[in-house]
Symmetry: C2
Subunit: 172 residues, 2 copies
């Protein structure tokens, strides 16, 4: 079976990086808990709301993101039975390309280059797509698994996974 | 209809760049005509054969490749009727990522970031794939169009297009 896995908020954690930068520049608390259904930039003062777009376009933003807990071990297990791809919408941010590539080499060196996809729309011929953004499921013919992240917690239309252990329960 | 289009030897011309570098370093003639069925590195002395791998891994290699004649105008016409994607196996060469992205912005700025795919294996859910490498057709469920390049001229198993005019005749 072919499984495609998104990066941000699924195996990489940009939210803690955003909080770090909003904390540094505007005193937003580091331990802020995001409201269900909301993005991180919806928790900051209106006049600095658009700042997230500058942050994410800077070289280095994606280079040192924390790894989502359990994702490394889980993907290694999935690889024993399935053909695993990483599929991320990197094309929106030109400066993310090398950072995302290098980050994957650091944390997921066991995923070969043949199985890495930087794209925009996810027009993929795969059986399962694990993603936190439902826009990527709109046109998808396989089985979508919605990986929980604060912004998607109010969505009820999709099969959901909260943790990487739950992914393994469903796919092994 | 969704159409995916490869970059190298389909819209971008790395062969002339290889010849330029082999000419500069080893005196290989710039007007060398490649034999049908052969790669450019099979036309150079055996002791420098592997040099192509160094060239292609250098930053800048993909940045200033010539555009394959007719491709810009043809893709603009295809876009009027179809959903056109660019899909290139950039992941094999980490240093090609930004160069390929910037090259596309220069020559094909009318292709939105949503429709650019840097991958390895082309596991794409598209109707047509225009490519010069038949390995990309092996597992492809749509209609493959083999874009002629010296190395593939002896292959007879696929529907072939020699020029961008021929692509338009088939897809418009």
């Amino acid at each position: 079976m072919r499984i495609a896995i998104d990066m941000d908020e699924v195996i990489a954690d940009p939210i803690s990086k955003f909080l770090e930068l909003y904390n540094r520049d505007f005193g937003v608390p580091l331990d802020l808990v995001l409201d269900p259904g909301k993005e991180v930039h919806q928790h900051v003062p209106a006049d600095v709301n658009r700042k997230w777009y500058d942050y994410i376009n800077e070289k280095g933003f994606f280079r040192n993101l924390p790894v989502i807990p359990g994702s490394i071990e889980a993907i290694q297990k999935l690889q024993e039975q399935h053909d695993v791809y990483i599929a991320t919408a990197a094309m929106e941010f030109r400066n993310s390309l090398e950072d995302k590539f290098d980050w994957l080499q650091d944390h997921f060196p066991f995923i070969p280059w043949t199985n890495i996809i930087f794209c925009g729309n996810k027009v993929l011929d795969v059986d399962v797509l694990i993603d936190d953004r439902i826009k990527n499921f709109a046109d998808f013919k396989g089985r979508p698994l919605l990986f929980s992240s604060p912004h998607n917690l109010l969505i009820t239309d999709y099969e959901r996974v909260d943790t990487w252990d739950q992914v393994l329960e469903k796919l092994l």
